[in-house]
């Protein structure tokens, strides 16, 4: 049980790291939201499952209940987190922000030099 939850925790942290790097590295608004929305949700799933498994160490009704509650947190995050990302992207589109293209960076580089 310990090994499984450790592996899950490490996997979840990997996802979180990917998300954090993605937010910094990606070139524009929409592509930054992509790691923010997806990887965080996946990371939460992994880490919370690990916590729920670890909690089942001594098996009783109480620990099963609290593990179920932890899984419930994941379920609600699976509904709300993508919806929030969707709403932010929607607001960006309506505000008239166009997606990033390679030409734009070229122009910026030309202006800088």
């Amino acid at each position: 049980m310990n090994i499984v939850s450790t592996i899950l925790l490490i996997c979840g942290l990997l996802f979180f790291t990917g998300g954090a790097v993605g937010i910094i590295r990606m070139p524009d608004f929409y592509s930054r939201l992509h790691p923010a929305g997806k990887l965080d949700t996946m990371g939460i799933l992994m880490t919370m499952t690990a916590v729920a498994l670890y909690n089942l160490h001594d098996f009783s009704i109480g620990t099963v209940l609290s593990s179920l509650k932890i899984i419930l947190i994941v379920a609600f995050l699976f509904i709300t987190s993508p919806t929030a990302t969707h709403a932010i992207v929607d607001a960006g589109v309506r505000a008239g922000l166009g997606p990033w293209t390679k030409e734009e960076t070229k122009e910026e580089n030309d202006l800088a030099t």
């Binding site: 609600f76 509904i79 709300t80 919806t83 969707h86 709403a87 929607d90």
Partner: protein
């Protein structure tokens, strides 16, 4: 001028830091804060009120007056916002937008035009167009009942865990605001009218104050819930615990209603017609 301001700020900061020198040590048992009443609260809360959460017992029982007037302050904030922002002169907007639901076509109807008010095929849309977003609407509709259930849990479980009327009321109000953001203001007002909101905010304060007054009728001090033992049918100690629950419900109702009322007025600039 900026440098003078900086010097003044730095001087004030130094004075404040100098003032902290006189503070008692962190966690010092002989400090004024932990010598007078807090040992009493810590030792006798369980025997006096049978409430495991000392914070709740102090908040709603030992210092009931304080919390009652806090609730009244919140109520006054809501009323003040209504006085400042609400406009009752009804000016219909110049043009209105209606969406034909089966086709999704938006119609602009100018002033004097025939409004499709009682048709089920048309729904009114805000002038700053709110898009037809099925995902956000559905997700909010799914989440709202669960959040409300959690809010009720927070209110009722204030005796045993962190929580209580203020926190639960804020969560309850937030669900209604979430509903208003994901749909629109008119849909929410249809569910919970302005009148109901104002009445509820007053009712919350009334529940709190009248619980205190009820105690007077049983010959004990104002807000001494042990007097309620006769009505509740329990011993005086658990009566104090139940009394805390009653006033927490009052606080929750008042906070929820004031939050919603503030949102109604702020988001629509007092017109409560078109808003976020």
């Amino acid at each position: 001028m900026k440098i003078a301001g900086l010097i003044v700020v730095l001087l004030c900061g130094c004075l404040l830091i100098y003032g902290t020198v006189d503070f008692p040590e962190w966690g010092d048992p002989a400090s004024p804060a932990s010598t007078h009443v807090s040992p009493y609260y810590i030792e006798t809360t369980m025997e006096d009120t049978s409430v495991p959460n000392i914070v709740t017992a102090v908040l709603a029982d030992y210092r009931g007056y304080d919390t009652m007037f806090e609730t009244i302050v919140i109520f006054c904030a809501g009323i003040a916002c209504i006085f400042l922002l609400r406009t009752y002169t009804h000016q219909a907007p110049e043009t209105r937008l209606y969406r034909h639901i089966p086709t999704g076509i938006i119609l602009r109807i100018k002033k004097g035009g025939k409004l499709p008010e009682d048709s089920t095929d048309f729904e009114r849309v805000d002038l700053q167009w709110v898009p037809y977003d099925l995902i956000i609407k559905t997700a909010c509709r799914v989440v709202v009942p669960f959040v409300q259930l959690f809010a009720l849990y927070v209110i009722a479980h204030g005796h045993h865990s962190p929580g209580g009327g203020f926190q639960g009321g804020v969560i309850l109000g937030a669900t209604l605001i979430l509903y208003a953001i994901s749909h629109d203001l008119r849909t929410t007002i249809k569910r919970m009218s302005e009148k109901a909101v104002i009445l509820l905010s007053a009712a919350g304060v009334f529940i709190y104050a009248s619980t205190g007054a009820l105690c007077l009728l049983f010959g004990v001090n104002y807000l001494d819930y042990s007097g309620l033992a006769a009505i509740l049918g329990v011993d005086p100690v658990s009566a104090r615990s139940h009394g805390i629950l009653i006033v927490e419900i009052g606080v929750g109702v008042a906070v929820m209603a004031v939050m919603v009322s503030l949102y109604y007025n702020l988001s629509s600039v007092g017109k409560q017609d078109e808003g976020l």
